[in-house]
C-alpha cells in the first residue's frame, strides 16, 4: 500500500465512520465494483446513452458530456464570451450580452432546466440562469446554441431560477440578494427594518418558438431566495422557493443568518397569480430590461423594454404561504408524483418533507397559522409535515428522485449522497462523494418520469482525485449507477468550470433532431450571399463592406485593399452544406475581434479597423480540408 492509497483509505474510513456514527441504521457505504470500468466503457464508434448538460458555475457556460463515458463533447457559451468561436464578439451575437448595465460578457450560471411537456422532458430547449447580472437564457437543442437572453429587472442575484412549470408555461426566477425595489441608496442597516425586498418573476415561454417574456413580478419579503422547483400532477399550480436569512441580518451573515431554527419554503400558486393579473390586481412598476433574441441565421434582435406588472401579496389572497423549514434550506424538490416537497436544510439535522395534500387541507384554516409576513400566512411546521428523515448526514442540500420510490440527497458537509425511501423516511444507503457535493442530477431530472439509471454528484472540491496542476484543481463530478438495489460508484471525471447543476436527457430524445447545417436558401442575413458570384467589396465612405464567401478551400474575394482608418466589415458566408464543415476566419493582429467559426450556411461579421499601412494576412482557422493551409490571403492597407 503506497502513501496515497493509505491516505485515501484513511479518508474513506473517516467519512465512512462519520456516516455510520451519524446514521443509526448503519446502512453500508458504497463499494467500488470491479466491473465499473465496463459500465462506463463506450467502445470507439459507439455512442453514449445520455446527454449531460452541466452548468459551468462561475465560467458562465454550459458543457455537454456523454454519459456513461463522461467524455466532453461541447462547450456552449451562454453568458460568457468565447474567443474560440467568436460568441459575444461578432456583430451577430455581441448584443446577446447587452444589459441595462451595459455589455456584461460573463456571468455566474447555476441551474440548468429542461423544457417539459406534461411534466416530461421534451428535448426542445434548455434554460440557464445568470446569477450576477440577473438574466435567463434559452439554449436551443437542435443547434445546441444560445438563442435568447432575457434580463430580469427588479432582481439582484437571479439564483432561484430558472425553474419550469409542468408544461413550461412559465419559468420562475426569484432574487437571491434582496435590495430596495426600486433601487435607492438607503443605509444598509435598513435591511433589518424591511426596506429591502425580493421578487418572484414569472417568465412566459411562447410554446412554439420558445420566445421569453416577463409576464408578472410579485413583490416578496426581503429574504434571500435560494432555489425553487415547481409542482407536477396535483401540485401543477404551485412552485416552491426556499429562503434563508429570514433573520434579515445585514452583517456577518454566517452567524446572523443562521440564528432562526426555521426559515421558510415559500409556496406560490402561480395560477392564482395569473388570475389576479388578469383581474387587474397587478400595477405598473418601474424596471428596465433587455430582451436579446437570435433568429435563425440573422443578427441578434436586441430590444430595451420598460416597466413590468407588479403584484403585491396583499392584493392577491391565496397566492402565497410560508412553510417553516429547518434550517437555512437550499433545495426544495418535488417528487415525481407531485405530493412531497423535500427541503434541504444546509444546517439542519433532518430532511423535512412537506405533504402537498396536507398543505391544501390546512392552508386556509386559521388554527394552522402562526403569523403573517407581508400578508403571507405562515403555517405551522407540523401542519404540513409528511415526515422527516432523521440524522441523514451533515449538510443536506438537494434531492432528486429515481421514480422507484427512492430519493437521493446530497450532503455537502459530510461529502456523500444518501439514498432514502419516500414514505418510510429510512436511509438505505450512504454513497461517498469526492468532495463537497452540491447538486445531484438523475437522468430525466426533476421531471415526472425520471429515467433512474444514472446519477451524477456535482462536486466543489477535488483534492487528491487527479494529478496536481498547481494551486487550482478542476471541479469534478461523480457518476453512479442507481439501477440496482444498491447504488454503485462508476467513475469520476473533471469538469469545465464548477458543475453547479445539470440536466441529463436520454440521447434518443435529442440525437436525431440535432441540426447538421444551416440551409443556405434560408439564410436571411442582410449581408449574407448565396454564391461566389455575389462576393464583392462595397465602399460606403469610410466604411468598407466585404461580402465574402468561404468554401473548401478558398475565400472570395481573396485579396482586398482598404485605406488606413477604414472600418471594415467582413460579412462572411460559409457556402458549405456539409455536416461538420465550419470554416474559421481570423485576421493577423486584429485587436478587438478573435477567431470566428462560421457554420455551413451561416453568415457572421468580423469588424476590423484598418491599422497602419501594410499587408495583413487572413486565414481559415478550422482545419477544413487537405488544402486548409492554403485557405489564406491578404488585405493591403494603403495610406
Amino acid at each position: 500500500m503506497n502513501y496515497k492509497t493509505l491516505i485515501k483509505s484513511v479518508l474513506l474510513i473517516i467519512v465512512g465512520t462519520t456516516a455510520l456514527a451519524f446514521c443509526k441504521k448503519g446502512a453500508a457505504t458504497a463499494t467500488l465494483a470491479s466491473d465499473a470500468a465496463k459500465k462506463v466503457y463506450v467502445a470507439p464508434g459507439e455512442k453514449d446513452e445520455v446527454y449531460a448538460f452541466l452548468s459551468g458555475g462561475f465560467n458562465g457556460q454550459m458543457s455537454v458530456y456523454g454519459i456513461p463515458s463522461a467524455r466532453l463533447f461541447k462547450i456552449i457559451p451562454v453568458f460568457s464570451v468565447f474567443p474560440e468561436n467568436g460568441y459575444g464578439y461578432d456583430e451577430e451575437t455581441k448584443d446577446m450580452l447587452k444589459t441595462t448595465h451595459g455589455y456584461v460578457p460573463w456571468d455566474d450560471s447555476h441551474h440548468v432546466e429542461a423544457s417539459m411537456t406534461e411534466g416530461k422532458q421534451d428535448g426542445r430547449w434548455l434554460f440557464l440562469n445568470a446569477n450576477n447580472t440577473p438574466r435567463l437564457a434559452r439554449i436551443d437543442l437542435k443547434a445546441f446554441e444560445t438563442k435568447e437572453i432575457l434580463e430580469i429587472p427588479n432582481s439582484a442575484g437571479n439564483h432561484a431560477s430558472p425553474f419550469a412549470t409542468e408544461n413550461t408555461e412559465y419559468l420562475m426566477a426569484a432574487t437571491r440578494f434582496s435590495v430596495p425595489i426600486p433601487q435607492s441608496s438607503v443605509p444598509i442597516e435598513n435591511f433589518s427594518k424591511g426596506d429591502f425586498k425580493g421578487t418572484v418573476t414569472m417568465v412566459k415561454v411562447e410554446p412554439k418558438t420558445g420566445r421569453l417574456s416577463i409576464e408578472l413580478q410579485v413583490l416578496v419579503p426581503g429574504f434571500d431566495y435560494d432555489l425553487s422547483h415547481c409542482g407536477k400532477g396535483k401540485s401543477h399550480d404551485w412552485c416552491f422557493f426556499t429562503s434563508y436569512n429570514t433573520e434579515q441580518a445585514h452583517k456577518m451573515l454566517e452567524v446572523g443568518a443562521s440564528k432562526n431554527d426555521k426559515d421558510y419554503i415559500l409556496a406560490f400558486n402561480w395560477v392564482r397569480a395569473k388570475q389576479c393579473l388578469d383581474q387587474g390586481k397587478a400595477t405598473a412598476h418601474s424596471g428596465e430590461y433587455y430582451r436579446n433574441y437570435l433568429p435563425e441565421n440573422k443578427p441578434v434582435v436586441s430590444e430595451k423594454i420598460s416597466g413590468v406588472k407588479m403584484l403585491h401579496p396583499k392584493d392577491c389572497s391565496g397566492m402565497m404561504y410560508y412553510l417553516p423549514t429547518p434550517k437555512s434550506p437550499h433545495g426544495t424538490d418535488v417528487d415525481p408524483t407531485g405530493e412531497y416537497i423535500v427541503g434541504g436544510g444546509k444546517l439542519a439535522t433532518v430532511i423535512p418533507v412537506h405533504s402537498f395534500t396536507k398543505l391544501m387541507e390546512v392552508k386556509d384554516k386559521p388554527e394552522h397559522r402562526t403569523a403573517e409576513i407581508m400578508n403571507i400566512p405562515v403555517l405551522k411546521y407540523e401542519s404540513t409535515l409528511a415526515g422527516e428523515v432523521k440524522k441523514p448526514c451533515l449538510g443536506p442540500l438537494h434531492t432528486e428522485f429515481d421514480g422507484q420510490g427512492y430519493a437521493y440527497t446530497s450532503c455537502f458537509v459530510s461529502s456523500e449522497v444518501v439514498k432514502w425511501e419516500l414514505g418510510t423516511w429510512e436511509v438505505v444507503q450512504h454513497l461517498p462523494a469526492y468532495y463537497s457535493v452540491g447538486h445531484l442530477s438523475i437522468v430525466g431530472g426533476s421531471s415526472k418520469e425520471p429515467y433512474g439509471k444514472y446519477l451524477i454528484a456535482l462536486n466543489k472540491i477535488t483534492k487528491d482525485r487527479y494529478l496536481p496542476v498547481g494551486m487550482e484543481l478542476p471541479q469534478s463530478a461523480q457518476l453512479y449507477d442507481i439501477s440496482g438495489r444498491k447504488a454503485e460508484l462508476l467513475s469520476d471525471f473533471p469538469t469545465v468550470g464548477e458543475p453547479h447543476y445539470s440536466q441529463m436527457i436520454p440521447a434518443k430524445l435529442l440525437m436525431d433532431k440535432a441540426a447538421k447545417i444551416y440551409p443556405l436558401e434560408e439564410n436571411k442575413h442582410p449581408y449574407g450571399i448565396k454564391s461566389e458570384k455575389e462576393a464583392r467589396v462595397v465602399r460606403e465612405g469610410n466604411t468598407v463592406r466585404v461580402y465574402m464567401s468561404q468554401i473548401r478551400s478558398h475565400f472570395k474575394p481573396d485579396t482586398i485593399e482598404v485605406k488606413r482608418g477604414d472600418t471594415v466589415y467582413f460579412h462572411i458566408t460559409n457556402l458549405e452544406q456539409d455536416f461538420d464543415i465550419p470554416h474559421g476566419f481570423a485576421v493577423s493582429g486584429a485587436p478587438e475581434m478573435p477567431n470566428l467559426l462560421i457554420m455551413p450556411g451561416q453568415t457572421r461579421t468580423f469588424k476590423w479597423k484598418a491599422p497602419n499601412p501594410g499587408i495583413y494576412p487572413f486565414y481559415c482557422t478550422d482545419f477544413c480540408s487537405a488544402l486548409h493551409q492554403e485557405m489564406q490571403q491578404y488585405i493591403r492597407v494603403t495610406p
Partner: protein, 202 residues
C-alpha cells in the same frame, strides 16, 4: 412466319402492353440510376441519382458535396444543365409510352417486336451515352487541379463498384431503371407466350 408477325395480340397480352405503358409513366417519378460514393470522411456516404430529366444528389446537398470533392482533382462540375441528353430523354420515354398506347389500339405482334427493338436500340445508345458521359467526366480533368495523381482517371463504373483513391464508387440501376428492365422482359415474355400460342395453333 410472316403470319406470326401480323397476328393480333390476345386480349390478355393487349392489356399487358397497356400495363407496360402505364408502369413506364412511373419512370418520370423515380430515379433511373444511382451512383454512390463511400469514403472514410463521408461515413454516411454520398449519392447521386440520374432521373429522366435531371441529375440530383441523394440528399439535397450531396451533389454539391460531390462537386466539392471532385474539384480537388479538377473534374468539371456535375450539373443537370450541362448534360443536354437530359433535355430530350423525357421525349424518348414519352415515345415508348406512346408506342404502348398505339399497340393497345393496334395490337399486332410486329408492333411489340418494334417496341422491343426500340428498347434495345435506345438502351444501347443510352448505355453508350452514359459511359461516354462518365468517361468525359473522369478523363477531362483540369491540369491545374490541386491534386494531380499521374496516370489516375476517375471514371466511375457503368455497373458495379470500383475503387478510386480512397473512394468506393458504386453504380446500379434505381427504381426507374428496374422499371425499364422489367418492361423489356415483360414484352419478351409476351412475345414468348404469343409464340407458344402460335406454335400450338391456337
Amino acid at each position: 412466319m410472316k403470319s406470326f408477325f401480323l397476328r393480333k395480340l390476345n386480349d390478355k397480352n393487349r392489356l399487358l402492353v397497356i400495363g407496360v405503358g402505364l408502369v413506364l409513366v412511373g419512370v418520370f417519378f423515380t430515379p433511373i440510376w444511382h451512383i454512390s460514393l463511400d469514403a472514410p470522411q463521408y461515413p454516411e456516404g454520398l449519392g447521386m441519382q440520374i432521373w429522366v430529366n435531371r441529375v440530383v444528389g441523394s440528399t439535397p446537398y450531396d451533389l454539391k458535396n460531390i462537386n466539392l470533392l471532385n474539384h480537388y482533382i479538377g473534374m468539371q462540375e456535375i450539373a443537370s444543365e450541362s448534360i443536354p441528353e437530359l433535355l430530350f430523354m423525357p421525349y424518348v420515354l414519352g415515345y415508348l409510352i406512346f408506342g404502348a398506347l398505339v399497340t393497345f389500339f393496334y395490337p399486332r405482334i410486329w408492333m411489340v417486336c418494334l417496341g422491343v427493338f426500340n428498347f434495345a436500340v435506345l438502351g444501347a445508345v443510352g448505355f453508350y451515352d452514359f459511359w461516354r458521359w462518365e468517361y468525359n467526366y473522369g478523363h477531362n480533368l483540369n491540369p491545374e487541379a490541386p491534386i494531380v495523381v499521374p496516370g489516375m482517371v476517375y471514371q466511375p463504373p457503368l455497373l458495379g463498384c470500383k475503387e478510386m483513391l480512397n473512394i468506393t464508387a458504386c453504380s446500379y440501376p434505381s427504381i426507374g431503371g428496374m422499371i425499364l428492365f422489367a418492361a423489356v422482359f415483360t414484352l419478351l415474355f409476351l412475345l414468348w407466350t404469343e409464340r407458344r400460342r402460335f406454335l400450338d395453333g391456337i
